[in-house]
Amino acid sequence: MKDPIRPGIDQRMLEAPPPRHYDAASLFRQHAPFVANFLHRLGVGQAELDDLVQEVFLVAHRRGGFIDDGRARPTTWLAEISIRVASVARRSHRRSREQPDQDTVSDAQSREIDPVRSIETQQALDRVQAALDSLEPERRAIFILFELEGESCAAIAAGFGIPVGTVYSRLHKARKQFRDAHTRLLDRERKPLRRPERATVTP
């Protein structure tokens, strides 16, 4: 049920329990893995991942922690901080990776017994990350939160401090870009791998 005065804010959200405060340490205990994953999906490498996770929660600490008033969620709030921290880190280091450190992910989740399946999983992760890398940072963040982290558009809007319509718009564009990139990557993989070399050898 939508609030007629504030579109995008659901009436049930307004009937949420009283605001609750989370300090940075409790946020860290509950959401450090989420922040690490989110930063990684934004393109942060393993070498600087822990530093940036620390930085995100230090910013959260300086902001006085998170007040859960039923609109934004701690994860979307931390995601907004993570985007800023990752952006500053990217500018500071003057580098942006083409591919994130997939070894980190594969070590964690892809302990497949079947080596063929493991390779397929790795290829799938590479495709998703390459398609994510093709998105602009703002769209990428919204895409990750909605599609991979399961956040609602209203929670993303509240966490980022933008209208929910903007979230819909950015998400729509991000999905189209992501789909196109993913299709291109699949098509490229299906093509014969040795074709360029043959062309150079044959007169």
Binding site: Q54, L58, V88, A124, F146, Y168
Partner: protein
């Protein structure tokens, strides 16, 4: 519809039109970074206990400015001190070497904003209300001149330019140390930060770090007295809209960022 509260679009994971995309996304969703939360939390708590504070928003600009300022001021005071002690007669040419920026050099001309407070004319930025700690601080008397080093010869009457820059450089160094201490205590003890900024305002009303002093005071007031912080922030951001602390103040008060 997956989200219970909104009319969100169908997630791609539930889009049956593209099986390969769905499969890849399912794998990506299941993939998690193996982050050592316990070790990370221990480090985080140790950082908080040590009151190590980097500027908010991830920016290192404020810290870099402070470090740069401390370094330059230390070198400057050392150079001036040596030259002053080793000159029995009128100052050497080296004494006339200016510091790299006008911000470090306390210029005697009334055109410098930092020196305007000592002149009869009011400051360009109107101070806060009389009850404001900043207003109280800026209304204080001029700083006490730093005492010359013990055992050294007193300044000669015919070389006032030699002793003045040296004492000013020492004062600048003290001011920078005070502001740095205020910065360090901000995360753990904002009241102490406020106290230190007031102390800095009393000792160095026309100091070279007015912007930092007022900025950290506002950041402390965000925690202690938000309405006062909002009141002071509007004046601060009007005067230093792109300063190194402006972004933190905007973030802390939820003020929209400047358009590029």
């Amino acid at each position: 519809m997956t989200a219970p509260f909104t009319h969100d679009p169908t997630r791609l994971l539930e889009d049956h039109a593209s099986s390969s995309l769905r499969r890849d996304l399912e794998l990506a969703r299941a993939a998690r970074v193996d982050y050592p939360s316990d070790a990370g939390l221990a480090r985080f708590e140790a950082t908080l206990a040590g009151a190590s504070t980097l500027p908010a928003g991830g920016s290192l600009a404020g810290l870099a400015v402070l470090r740069w300022f401390l370094g330059v001021t230390a070198v400057l005071s050392l150079t001036l001190g040596i030259a002053w002690l080793s000159s029995p007669s009128p100052p050497q040419p080296a004494m006339a070497v200016a510091p790299p920026t006008s911000r470090i050099e306390p210029s005697p001309t009334p055109l410098q904003p930092a020196m305007a407070a000592t002149s009869p004319t009011p400051q360009p930025m109107p101070a806060a209300s009389p009850s404001s700690p900043l207003a109280t601080a800026t209304a204080q008397s001029p700083p006490m001149p730093a005492a010359p080093p013990s055992g050294s010869t007193p300044p000669k009457p015919d070389s006032p330019t030699a002793s003045k820059p040296a004492s000013q450089a020492i004062a600048s160094l003290d001011e920078a140390r005070l502001i740095d201490a205020a910065r360090k205590s901000l995360a753990e003890d904002p009241a102490h930060t406020l106290e230190l900024t007031e102390q800095a305002a009393e000792r160095f009303p026309a100091g070279a770090m007015i912007e930092e002093r007022r900025g950290y005071a506002i950041l402390a007031l965000i925690t202690l007295d938000r309405p006062k912080a909002e009141q002071l922030a509007s004046e601060y951001l009007e005067r230093w809209p792109k300063g190194p602390l402006a972004r933190r103040i905007r973030d802390g008060l939820g003020i929209p960022a400047l358009l590029p």
